[in-house]
Symmetry: C2
Subunit: 323 residues, 2 copies
């Protein structure tokens, strides 16, 4: 597997082809997905969550995920990720040849039952089987296995989620054999103070090498403020969605991944290396507007453009306003 | 004058009645302005920039500023602020009885000429006359005089603005007798790194008691991220506009003050005291939609609502997710 962080400071994991497409009614053709993934990779994006291994009758939008994984695997320097809801999904993902699988576990058990139709105990059983499958594989065939801590910052069903509970489940997942846990603000409830406090507590419990990424929503406009808080503490991987496509269809009132274009601008302007060419990234939006004419795209930077005289870090700039 | 900070951590200065109204075509009636200001003050907002003392033919939307100041002065615990472009405006503002006057000085001289139709030297001459007028008044009649450092983070005409130039002009304004300088990201170019670096440099030059506030735009979606950076360094006053109304009409491509509702939620969720009741604040939007039916209102929190189980700091809560 490529060392993704060798020449970048922050890894942006594009989740649009999974999280975006699963939450809209339009179905993107496989050809359009391939074009999107190819173009976004060419813009410098190193990790893309290309789909989800769920039954096609639940998410017909993602029925071609195995085929898309196979295509994405042919792109050099791209880490190919997929979501899996259970052991069966993980098995299919591994057969398709993904580099990384992410299994979401909702800290709020009510949300877990609504989202994955499983109690915590049932999810742990799936994780156990997945870990056993992975360790049965030759080392070079093992995908990176991440347990995603969904609704970590609050739940639209249960309300407040205790931080201690998040930490306890993070510890359990690492002990069970997940390579990593990831934080997810599924409901767009998180604030910068909470983000820092949560990361500190989880790192104290499992070590900072066992949690490097966060999935933030911009539901209350606070997404990029939470990025800054996460970055200051030291997280280095951020999920986002091109054009802000998508959100979580099972959390009522929760919508809106942070927008990849705005995230890249924020980081680039501070001199943080992402390896991504913003101009090329913004051009990728045309793939979405052409293939999903009914869907709305979001993003401030694509509307306003880059500052006058702006030189991207990617093109040798040092960040905006950095003397 | 009231000690605004005695029971709050952060002062939110609502600039919608000035910055918002000056940049839209619709003209709000004086009655609607009074209702808006009264309602927003009742929601807990302690400072409102109620207008601008410019010739009515330039900004007919703000022709009734003196009358609005007089009304706002009758509201207890409200600091009444106004923008002034020159000495004449300051004289009128003082006669109307404002608590605070703000004179914008664009660090980019090209922008200064486009915006105020004045070179830097000409603006300094106006400031000098204003300071002389203020010190000629009895102490209890003197308004707080702020010089606002516009285009401090970059200019749509000149591009990059040197940080040293901002610091030099900040020093000059304080030496000339301004009580305070304020930072303004007029063009929406600022990033969190630049914000921290700029504040540090200005504080080193003039002292932290001489710059307490910042005026941020959300042009590139980075407004609240910049709030977090400013807050972490220690700024305690933030301008914002209810419903995101407005922006700078003279900076092409620059639009969008940060939204008061989203700002208050961000701060409140972290446990920062603003003294503002978010529910009441959101209700004030109805004044805008009724009196400005053609204008679009912005804001994430008014769309998404507060998190389930959320208790405002203002109502005895401690912030979201704070254990």
């Amino acid at each position: 597997m490529v060392d993704l962080m060798s020449d970048i400071d922050v890894l942006i994991s594009e989740v649009g082809p999974r999280d975006g497409l699963q939450s809209i009614e339009s179905i993107m053709t496989s050809e359009a997905k391939r074009d999107w993934i190819k173009a976004e990779s060419a813009a410098g994006v190193r990790e893309i969550e290309v789909g989800s291994f769920v039954p096609p009758k639940i998410l017909p939008q993602l029925a071609d995920t195995a085929e898309i994984v196979s295509f994405a695997n042919s792109i050099p320097n791209l880490q190919v990720a997929a979501l899996v809801p259970n052991f069966k999904g993980a098995e299919n993902a591994i057969n398709a040849g993904v580099d990384k699988i992410t299994l979401p576990l909702s800290i709020s058990e009510s949300h877990s039952i609504a989202n994955l139709r499983k109690t915590h105990q049932q999810v742990f059983e799936e994780i156990d089987k997945i870990v056993n499958l992975i360790i049965s594989l030759p080392k070079d065939k093992r995908p990176h296995f991440e347990g995603s801590l969904s609704t970590a910052f609050g739940c639209t069903i249960e309300g407040k989620v205790e931080q201690k509970k998040v930490v306890r489940i993070a510890e359990k997942l690492i002990k069970m054999g997940c390579d990593e846990v990831g934080l997810a603000d599924t409901t767009g409830y998180a604030n910068p103070y909470q983000i820092k406090s949560m990361i500190n507590d989880i790192w104290s419990a499992v070590g900072s090498d066992k949690m490097m990424g966060i999935h933030l929503h911009n539901t209350r406009g606070q997404g990029l403020a939470n990025v800054i808080a996460s970055l200051e503490i030291g997280l280095t991987t951020f999920d986002s969605s091109l054009g802000g496509l998508g959100g979580c269809p099972f959390a009522p009132g929760a919508s809106g991944n942070i927008v990849t274009e705005d995230l890249v601008f924020l980081l680039d302007s501070m001199g943080v290396k992402t390896g991504i060419d913003i101009d090329k990234l913004i051009e990728v939006r045309s793939h979405l507007s052409k293939s999903l004419p009914k869907e709305e795209l979001y993003g401030f930077v694509p509307e306003s453009g880059l500052p006058k005289g702006y030189i991207q870090v990617n093109s040798g700039g040092r960040g905006w306003g950095i003397n």
